[in-house]
């Protein structure tokens, strides 16, 4: 089947309109989960069906798309989604954060600071931050409505009691604009501070769970903590073995069977740009 037979960016216009309405509502109520009629997409649930629908609804012919998976541009998931839009929308794609107008991401926020003319789209597996505390959807919606979020601190309390610190390392719960509790999707908590007052528009799509939410530009995003156990991000003793960065999020890579290992930047574009000697 040739790409020409698809509507622009795969989704039909009616569906895009429906998703855009959900997006407008999500932007108007920062952090609030807006239900939407999620469609079947030509990739399995858990691979970014929510993110891909959001991207399809906002992308235009002039847009430049970057897709990352755990910070990397060259993984199967990232390449497939980039190709998907290159075929169905004919848009230009890039691996450079600075060149992109839309960044779709799974589980990372790029190291290069985003700008006000960029949009970042997160793929979200489970949107409900209270899910593991309260299994009933009717009850969690009520808890959001009444801002009853004390139970979330019980979870942090338990972490500190058992392990001496909050061990939640990714998908660390945040409070948006002082109101709604939100899952930032499974990004490492290292990236949480980047959500706070970010100049770019941040959109979150959960395809299987049929929810969309958003953080408008410059919105306050606070990570939950205790006064005597403040939120902090992870740090490394090592530097990136390739580019030497000591400020980026590092992956530990096992290199052989003798225990050899190296630490490298998880953000491939950032690392590559530093090695090429240009500013990322």
């Amino acid at each position: 089947m040739s790409a020409a037979q698809y509507n622009f960016a795969y989704l039909d216009e009616q569906t895009k309109r429906m998703i855009r309405r959900a997006l407008l509502k999500a932007v108007a109520i920062p952090g609030y989960q807006v239900p939407f009629g999620s469609r079947e997409m030509p990739l399995p649930y858990g691979w970014g069906t929510g993110g891909i629908q959001v991207t399809a609804s906002i992308i235009g012919r002039e847009d430049v798309l970057k897709v990352i998976d755990q910070g990397a541009d060259d993984t199967t998931n990232a390449i497939s989604i980039r190709r998907f839009f290159a075929r169905t929308a004919g848009v230009r794609t890039t691996e450079r954060t600075a060149e992109a107008t839309i960044v779709q991401t799974r589980h990372r926020v790029p190291e290069t600071p985003l700008r006000a003319d960029q949009i970042i789209v997160y793929q979200v597996p489970i949107p409900e931050p209270l899910r593991w505390l309260e299994p009933r959807e009717a009850e969690t919606r009520k808890m959001h409505g009444l801002a009853e979020y004390g139970a979330m601190h019980v979870r942090l309390y338990e972490d500190i009691t058992r392990y001496g610190r909050v061990v939640t390392a990714y998908d660390y719960p945040v409070r948006v604009n002082g109101r709604y509790l939100m899952r930032p999707s499974p990004i490492p908590k290292f990236d949480n501070p980047k959500l706070d007052r970010n100049p770019a528009l941040q959109l979150f799509g959960a395809g299987r769970e049929k929810r969309i939410y958003a953080v408008p530009p410059w919105t306050r995003v606070e990570s939950l903590d205790f006064e005597d156990h403040p939120f902090h991000v992870e740090s490394w003793e090592e530097r990136c073995a390739l580019c030497g960065s000591d400020t980026s999020f590092l992956d530990e890579v096992v290199t052989d069977d003798e225990g050899g290992r190296m630490f490298v930047c998880s953000d491939t574009d950032y690392c590559g740009a530093r090695r090429a000697g240009s500013s990322p």
Partner: protein
């Protein structure tokens, strides 16, 4: 058992000058054709403990659930005196206000502690939850309060970081009480608090409850089918049968000189030790 001293009633008597904390008027609740409660009226004054007795199926627990705002009654009103002195119909309050009351000013002790505890969360987390719900954000303070309350309910402080799933039934019940009282509620509703415990554990729990209720000046409504529990804890009793209040009065008066035939039967059914 008849020799057992009732709780210090002086507090209840002086309190009569004050307006009541809780007023129930003509409360009715049916489940389809089954009438669970009908025309139940009573008042509860600050510092007073009211016992609700009756056989199983007499509507005691339905009444309690209506008082707690967990069930919407078909008729009648439940009025509660808010901290600012205003009497408020709890079903006219918004759900947000009612839920706030339920986690700050009210406590609810379930018959089965498993309904009132988070079994996978440590004892400290269970006690601290209400504090965190109302905005406590200092780990050290929450923990100190939890330890203090474990001590008050006679649980070894070394169990602070154990989950209640590893506690005995009596300890779970005491933990549930601590979890409710930590936020210093003004009104505690208890549904058969000693129901599933053996007698020696019951006795200690009753001792503890008497001490706490007296010491904190709590008002409480205790639902029980056990007349000796009622005699030990309650200042006043109401006797329910088939959803209606058949007799009400001071505890000793009701139990020693019952007027209604059903109350007479109930009082006579207690095995004399």
């Amino acid at each position: 058992m008849t020799e057992a001293a009732p709780l210090e009633a002086a507090g209840a008597l002086t309190a009569l000058a004050e307006p009541p904390l809780l007023e129930v008027e003509g409360l009715g609740k049916s489940f389809g054709p089954v009438t669970a409660c009908a025309e139940v009226s009573f008042s509860l004054w600050p510092g007073e403990v009211l016992g609700v007795v009756g056989e199983s199926g007499s509507g005691k627990t339905t009444l309690l659930n209506c008082l707690a705002g967990r069930l919407l009654p078909d008729s009648g009103a439940v009025r509660y005196r808010l901290a600012d002195g205003r009497m408020a119909d709890i079903f006219a309050l918004s759900e947000a206000e009612r839920r706030l009351l339920a986690r700050t000013e009210w406590g609810f002790v379930h018959q089965n502690p498993r309904d009132g505890l988070r079994l996978g969360v440590t004892a400290g987390g269970n006690i601290g939850e209400r504090l965190m719900l109302v905005g406590a954000r200092h780990y050290g303070h929450i923990r100190a309060a939890a330890r203090d309350w474990l001590d008050k309910v006679e649980i070894d402080a070394g169990r602070l970081d154990d989950p209640p799933a590893q506690f005995s039934g009596g300890m779970q019940q005491r933990l549930q009480i601590a979890r409710n009282l930590v936020s210093r509620p003004r009104l505690v509703l208890m549904d058969e608090p000693t129901g599933s415990l053996d007698v020696s554990v019951q006795a200690r729990l009753l001792d503890l409850l008497r001490g706490l209720v007296g010491g904190l000046g709590l008002s409480a409504v205790i639902v029980t089918h056990d007349l000796s529990v009622a005699r030990l804890l309650a200042h006043r009793l109401i006797v329910m049968r088939r959803g209606r209040v058949v007799e009400a009065g001071l505890t000793d008066q009701v139990l020693d000189d019952p007027q209604h035939p059903y109350t007479q039967l109930l009082a006579a059914s207690v095995l004399q030790a």
